[in-house]
């Protein structure tokens, strides 16, 4: 481009009009805003959110108290309480504590669980008013956390 053409372009504000044309075009394209409480975002099934413990058809826990999840957890937020049954020589689950205050949702626990018992589900509305609500015991893990519903 010759210097003269450049100068003419500069005087005519060509570069600025180019930008203005782009923004005005965008103005008439639909917005991408998601109006959160009214529209909830689509969450993929792999999303790692609220922890849940699975139960079988009879409502009995799937957990076999193998303690692998507690071992693999980098943040040590899982405590498996278990007792050895003297008859069957197998561990039996007596309690399970999931401390969500420490959890960083890495997903190692669900990955290692041999019975697919513990899972990080796509539920993502995890805010609570009381910090104690984040320490989840077995019933809460099986039932799911109490939902906080945001009104429109």
């Amino acid at each position: 481009m010759t210097p003269v053409a450049q100068l003419v372009k500069k005087i005519l504000f060509i570069d600025l009009f180019q930008g203005l044309a782009i923004t005005i075009r965008e103005m008439f394209t639909p917005a991408v805003t998601e109006q959160y409480p009214r529209q909830r975002s689509h969450v993929y099934e792999r999303f790692r959110g609220e922890p849940r413990m699975g139960v079988d058809a009879n409502g009995k826990t799937l957990c076999i108290a193998c303690n692998l999840c507690a071992q693999v957890c980098p943040e040590n937020c899982i405590t498996v309480k278990r007792e050895k049954n003297p008859e069957t020589k197998k561990f039996e689950l007596t309690g399970y504590v999931f401390d969500m205050r420490r959890c960083m949702f890495c997903g190692f626990c669900e990955e290692i669980c041999p019975t697919d018992c513990i899972q990080l589900t796509p539920a993502y509305e995890l805010a609570r008013y009381d910090v104690r609500d984040f320490v989840l015991e077995l019933p809460a893990l099986e039932r799911g956390m109490d939902k906080t519903h945001y009104r429109k």
Partner: protein, 345 residues
Amino acid sequence: MLELFKPYTEELVKIVILLALISLAIAYLTWLERKVIGHIQSRLGPMRVGWHGLLQPIADGIKFIIKEDIIPAKADRFGFILAPLLAFIPAFIVFALIPFDGPQAFTVGGKTYSGYVADVDIALLFVMAITSICVLGLIVGGWASNSKYPLLGALRSVAQLVSYEIPMGLSVMGVVLMAGSLSLVRIVQAQERLGWWFFLPQLVGFVIYFICGVAETNRNPFDLPEAEAELVGGYHTEYSGFRFALFFLAEYANMITISAVAATLFLGGWLMPFPSLLAPYLSWVPGIVWFSLKVFAFLFLYLWFRGTFPRYRFDQLMGIMWKILLPVAIANILVTAGVMLYLNR
């Protein structure tokens, strides 16, 4: 006492109406800004308060009023309190001189009223003078805050505003030369007589005026005094609540002022566009509608600019003003004066 005001009843009523309308316009200008910029940025802008956020400005206003009034401990109290008023009051005074409509705008009870509060012979000069008082508010605010970022912001704004007054004043001179008057009403009437609006013969002056106007109101791409990325909030960093709201309102009032003056000087004020073409169909539309449309067009430009451009650096801004706008404005005056001399020979 009341007797004293009696001759000015018309003006007083108009002032009250004007204050209400302008306040409302400013409130909805903030709404418009958020909407326009939102859509430019493929967002929606305010949606939750009222239908499409229409009550948002009112919610914001209430929020500003009920917020805690904070004056920093080390601030200069007098200056800190004075500054927002210094910025706010002149911004509103100017509207007294803006001709929203012609001398025979509307008839009430057999009497014809004009579409402006006052027609002063030196209206343009007065507008320019009053708007520059706003600068005082900014520097006092920045200084009185006793904080570094506001101080830098205030220094920038004073340098910027004072320098941009010069080409701005010069750019309207061409119009004054063509109209032969400083009265805003007579400038519009001159455009009516000429049949052309002044932005065509005065294109250079018009462009310079608008650039300076953007700089005068501290808007993007010249929003250095409040450059958020560098100076956090600029001169009003330490302000909150209602005092901040006053600065904010002053800025938007100034935007409307600049747009209104630009519409009056260059776009024929209350005149209808293409009168020969449209007059048979649209002669019933009051002049104030045309005027508002023109002002709106300018305001939209402001918002559009903000949604598009980056920000100049301080020294570059001054360079543009002294090295480009000022010489061009002076050349524009000389050319206009020469042509006028030739035509009126």
